[in-house]
């Protein structure tokens, strides 16, 4: 009895330390992993002079940003500062009135949302936006949609190759489910899951889409300390293992200061500061935005 338990434990450890293997293999087939010398230097995502207004409300004012290869960029700022708006502009859900966005030197400003997602800009949502009627595994499979290689007719007729492709994709999704430690609920309908698990499913869904840049919109909002640590661990694991740059919007300063390479601070649609965590903590503009002007001078 004990041996078997130990075996299982060992097996599980092994699985986690090498998690996401299948996904990584799948991604390596399509494009090479980033080179060492590019990390931290080559720009993968760039926004130039983005302006976004809803009627008279200026949501984003002349935003410029750069995301480099293998970088974890955090965006912080008070509520309503325009952080989510920026992500929405990047993923093509809102159209900026002015400004351009480039992804690896390719202009994506006018691409459709699903085209941008297929390029690999995958995101999670602040207010959970899962497909509530599907199970966890089906949610992940639905996100594999652009990568599944058979047309709907062979799906309807269920040709052998369609069946094989389903199984291959299923294996990749199960791998992600294992990585996120959600095996117990893989067949549960998402609508019935607890909040933390839903947030995790969102992360899994973004992973299933084969991200080349991961855009996370408040992945830890409303979680307790343990759940935040879990989530931070997952994000760092993904970041290390897939070697992809991550954009993280988060309100928890502890987490942000710990994990981010670089931080951008927004206030009222304007970018008020940018720099490493150490620089940001002493920046007077940031302090005045968060704590009030009287603290900024100190």
């Amino acid at each position: 009895m004990t041996t078997s338990i130990r075996n299982i434990t060992k097996h599980r450890e092994q699985r986690y330390s090498y998690g996401l293997t299948l996904l990584r293999e799948e991604m390596e087939k399509k494009y090479p992993m980033p080179k060492e010398e590019d990390v931290g230097k080559k720009v993968v995502l760039k926004g130039e002079g983005i302006n976004l207004a809803f009627g008279g409300l200026q949501a984003l004012m002349d935003i410029n940003f750069e995301l480099k290869e293998g970088e974890l960029l955090a965006i912080i700022g008070p509520n309503g500062a325009g952080k989510t708006c920026l992500l929405n502009v990047v993923s093509g859900f809102y159209r900026a009135q002015e400004g351009e966005i480039y992804y690896r030197d390719r202009k994506i400003t006018h691409m459709s949302s699903h085209g941008i997602a297929e390029l690999g800009l995958c995101r999670t949502f602040q207010n959970i936006a899962l497909y509530t009627g599907l199970t966890v595994i089906e949610n992940l499979m639905a996100a594999r949609h652009p990568h599944i290689k058979y047309n709907f007719l062979s799906g309807m007729l269920y040709f052998p190759w369609a069946s094989d492709e389903e199984v291959r994709q299923r294996a990749i999704c199960e791998d992600i489910v294992d990585f996120l430690e959600m095996d117990a609920v893989r067949n549960h309908v998402v609508g019935s899951l607890a909040y933390g698990l839903r947030k995790r499913t969102e992360l899994g869904r973004a992973l299933a889409l084969e991200p080349r840049i991961l855009l996370l919109d408040e992945p830890m909002a409303g979680m307790n300390r343990d759940e935040k640590e879990d989530m931070a661990r997952f994000i760092l694991d993904i970041y290390e293992f897939l070697k992809i740059p991550v954009v993280l919007i988060e309100h928890d300063m502890g987490v942000v200061m710990d994990v981010a390479d670089r931080i951008m601070v927004f206030d009222f649609g304007k970018q008020i500061a940018e720099g490493t965590p150490d620089e940001i903590t002493v920046n007077p503009k940031v302090i005045s935005a968060y704590l009030g002007t009287e603290y900024a001078g100190v």
Binding site: T84, N88, F93, N127, A129
Partner: protein, 295 residues
Amino acid sequence: MEQIIKLIVLGLCMGGIYALVAVGYVVVYKSTKVFNFAQAAMITVGAYALYQALIVWSLPIWAAVLFTLAVGVALGLLVERLLMRPLIGQPILAPIVVTLGLMLLLRGVILMIFGGQVYGYGEHFLPLGAWHVGFVTLPMIQVYAFIISMVAIFALIQFYNRTRMGLAMRVTHEDHVVAQNLGINVKRVFQYSWVIACVLGVISGMLLGNIQGCCVELDVTGLMAIAAILFGGLESIGGAIVGGLTLGVLQMLTIGYLAPLMPGEPIMMVPFAFMLLILIFKPYGLFGLVRIERL
């Protein structure tokens, strides 16, 4: 030229009734966010209730009209309490199916009681005859119908703007939860909206029954009025009035100019084609608000 003016005037008269029906749709939609397809059947109910009181029971006009309005009130209360209240909070398909079903239910009940014949009020309701204004001949029933519709709509707007309940209803239009937190009885507001809509429905039913005769197909006329609302967006009473009048004129012009060119009865099809065109080019109505979606 004479022809055009004639058609436009007649169209405006007809459009008044469309506007009344359309406002009925809008009242319920604004308050409850349920689109009441059964408004179309309220017209039939109104027409037949008046027929029952006026012709079968030979009541005097005032009593017959009062009876019809009472039927409208009772129907509104019943529908709201029995059908719509259990569906609060259900996905959008549920109210659509229920109101469509209610439309057919009312059609069924009327078929069962009255059979499928077409009835008319003859000269017992509004005076027949016509006025001659210059070269335009105006049938009195059309003019009276227009006037009554406009008076009813005017009364509704006054109710919204002048009374306490009207204020509560306007608050509820904005947000149900907020309204409830402010101490407004939202269920009561829903009840009022349904009653108002049903009363407007039976009024337009009386007028339409007078013009077109009582038949179960009157509800198709009600469905045509949907085109009028789309014209102005689902939540605007002003838009519904403008839309109704436009629809009436458009329909008359079609009868005048297009009908000889087209086979069959394009009068039935035109409002729907019009509706489809509006939806394709202006999805939220010509004056409707465009929602900004959030993620």
